[in-house]
Symmetry: C2
């Protein structure tokens, strides 16, 4: 039995929870490991009260951990791509194994780091970087390894899911729901990455690389956040029996990768995943469909996945970071969002008088290939109209909407529909 | 890169699918493996048309595979505890790795086989034995390794779930639904193990050992099947907003392990897992709640997990069979079902006249600590009555029901309720 010495860089919410689990769950962790994990040093911008310095060293400069020959494994939970990037790169170059929850960094520099790891006998564990406590990276790389992953649809951002749930259940505006999420600690003071879909896209990029066997390609992922979703959208979607979720969508062997708010039939189980929960619905070649729901964020859930990665290392259980050797990764070829073929939810305001006298509404509905419609008379004397279209190419839909008679319709908006 | 030679024992539905995946998905499998898997020999009672003998040897006596020094890994998909047991034992004694879906064997002899594997440098992969395509064994042993698994509630038998779903949706009797399941190949011609809950108990035993760190203890698991569930039970449960599912229940660090049909609130996601799907709802110490839904049976889904185990072996990814070393497994101490404390659904027929004239119904409802009730007048002039009790110890409930006034009530029956 070897002793594997751990250096923990970062003592924020996740770092503190890693420290806590390594201490309180020592017995379970030891019993489940062929080699012994031992936390020897921690590092953060400032000392923390909860650290017992009789047991672990406090190191002021976290980069020193990455250069410490005594340390076998670095846990990086600082985040961002500044010092975190430097620590990971240095540690890997020094042949250490690293464990991180840093999706923002990995989505962009993951390929470079995985290459370094292969060259230096290192390893990057990053289970915690996607869907917190749900072991989806392990499931994709190992549990479903005997499958082609054909499609997946995932709710990967707890903040957005919380906001959308609140908006629907309490009939409140986006900004009010965001404020509530911030007050409760579900959203950061600068929530841009979450609400603009960037965080979800980072996670999608990592999962998509594993699913497709292609290099992570964050730059080509279409990203649309939830900031333009309003209570009316949610209410009209509900009237047509849909719910709106911020989805990471992966289809066509990875040639479709995108993040956007999407309507899902309310009866679908993934549509019922509310609050800050995450979920991944996976369609595979041999195993059929798999839906996993769990905690996507928070100190202990995220730390649970970090420590699981540590236990994997303590048992010499390794996977290729992106499922296959770096040299075997193909180039991703993500198609433009305009090429998407699917259903759309269109919301617009109809001029009531014109529509009725000239029967333009019927013509219009035919034009946009309406499958389902919902009308509501609004105080202004106009008609609020929601439409579910047939399958149509997004480029064509956009053209069609552009050509609509401006006297007949206004405030035209579309949201994609996913038939999961 | 080593070549790992596989011998496949059994060419039934699952064996055929293993053969198929190993052939058609060779490219994916190779890319995801550090060493090369190669199927060299198969065995079955008779030759099969789909086997290409220019590529693999057909061996008449499957035990020969286990004794063949050329073979590194045995896949056993014969089932039962006859020749399958002999093959596994022989292979393990010969230092081979084995992969099997044989829950019936492992629930009873798993400890002995795991001990043999530890002594001989062997390994038993058995992901396919529980919940088919859902990688729940990997999730318990690895993904959630940094957690105490506090409780789990699982639908582990597709046949029973299919039958219960049909009974509810089509308002048909158990025997009719069973016949349909048999006609569709969802149930065996002798369905005893499925419908009596034994299959579910085998699977529970394996998961419970991993969750608790205790020896598998099939003999002490309380088992009740679905044969006594009738359409009335399902209908009345529905009226009280519950669904009936055959559940494997694990609580109190493993001191509660049991299989029985249980009522779950209809609004719960696991209650909505229908048809032949399996699901596991897990409550953990650090990762919170996790719900996974997927295919629990069928050729390709089961083979998907078998081949995933093979890919683990090809990457030298090993876990202790039951999560910890055999010598570290404690003795299980499963409590008697009579000690269960929980809610109960009671169905009975009330004598209408007596109940009304003597107000016995109110007294009775107080006695059995009714929280919710549902009454239905039946043609006989009696009242069909369904009750949801408060929490009560099962032993006390039984005593209480035994002491009920025989003139007032008859046809008394209870089903356990799980508040998941």
């Amino acid at each position: 039995m070897k002793k594997l010495k751990i250096g923990l860089a970062g003592l924020g919410i996740v770092g503190k929870s890693v420290y806590e689990i390594l201490l309180k769950d020592q017995e379970i962790i030891n019993a489940r490991s062929a080699n012994k994990l031992e936390l020897v040093a921690v590092s953060a911008r400032s000392k923390k009260d909860f650290i017992d310095e009789t047991k672990v060293r406090f190191v002021a400069n976290s980069l020193d951990l990455a250069n410490d020959p005594e340390i076998d494994i670095i846990v990086e939970v600082i985040g961002g791509d500044g010092i975190a990037s430097e620590i990971l790169e240095t540690a890997i170059k020094n042949g250490k194994k690293v464990v991180t929850a840093n999706k923002a960094l990995l989505a962009v520099k993951g390929l470079k780091l995985a290459t370094l790891a292969e060259e230096n006998g290192g390893y990057i564990g990053f289970e915690a970087s996607v869907a917190g406590a749900i072991p989806i990276i392990k499931t994709f790389r190992e549990g479903l390894a005997a499958n082609e992953i054909k499609e997946f649809y995932a709710i990967l951002n707890g903040t957005c899911n919380y906001i959308l749930t609140k908006m629907k259940n309490e009939n409140i505006d986006f900004s009010v729901a965001l404020k509530q999420a911030q007050d409760l600690g579900y959203a950061e003071s600068d929530p841009t990455f979450d609400i603009e879909g960037v965080d979800t896209a980072h996670k999608l990029t990592l999962l998509a690389a594993i699913a497709s066997g292609c290099k992570p390609d964050f730059d080509d992922v279409y990203i649309e956040g939830i900031t333009k979703i309003n209570v009316d959208d949610i209410r009209l979607a509900d009237a047509l029996q849909y719910k709106i979720k911020l989805l990471a969508v992966y289809k066509n062997a990875g040639s479709f990768q995108a993040v956007y708010p999407a309507l899902i039939e309310s009866a679908q189980k993934i549509a019922q995943v509310d609050d800050s929960f995450n979920a991944i619905l996976t369609k595979t070649s041999n195993a059929g469909e798999n839906l996993t729901i769990g905690r996507g964020a928070g100190g202990l859930p995220t730390a649970s996945s970090i420590v699981a990665d540590l236990i994997d290392i303590a048992n010499d259980r390794y996977s290729f970071e992106f499922g296959v050797k770096v040299s075997d990764l193909k180039n991703a070829a993500i198609s433009n969002i305009e090429e998407r073929i699917g259903k759309y939810f269109i919301k617009l305001t109809l001029n009531k008088e014109l529509a009725q006298t000239q029967k333009l509404d019927e013509k219009f509905l035919q034009e946009i290939k309406a499958q389902k419609t919902y009308f509501e008379e609004v105080p202004s004397g106009h008609i609020l109209c929601a439409v579910v279209t047939e399958n149509i190419k997004e480029k064509n839909l956009q053209q069609l909407l552009k050509n609509l008679d401006k006297n007949l319709v206004k405030d035209v908006k579309f949201i994609r529909i996913e038939s999961v």
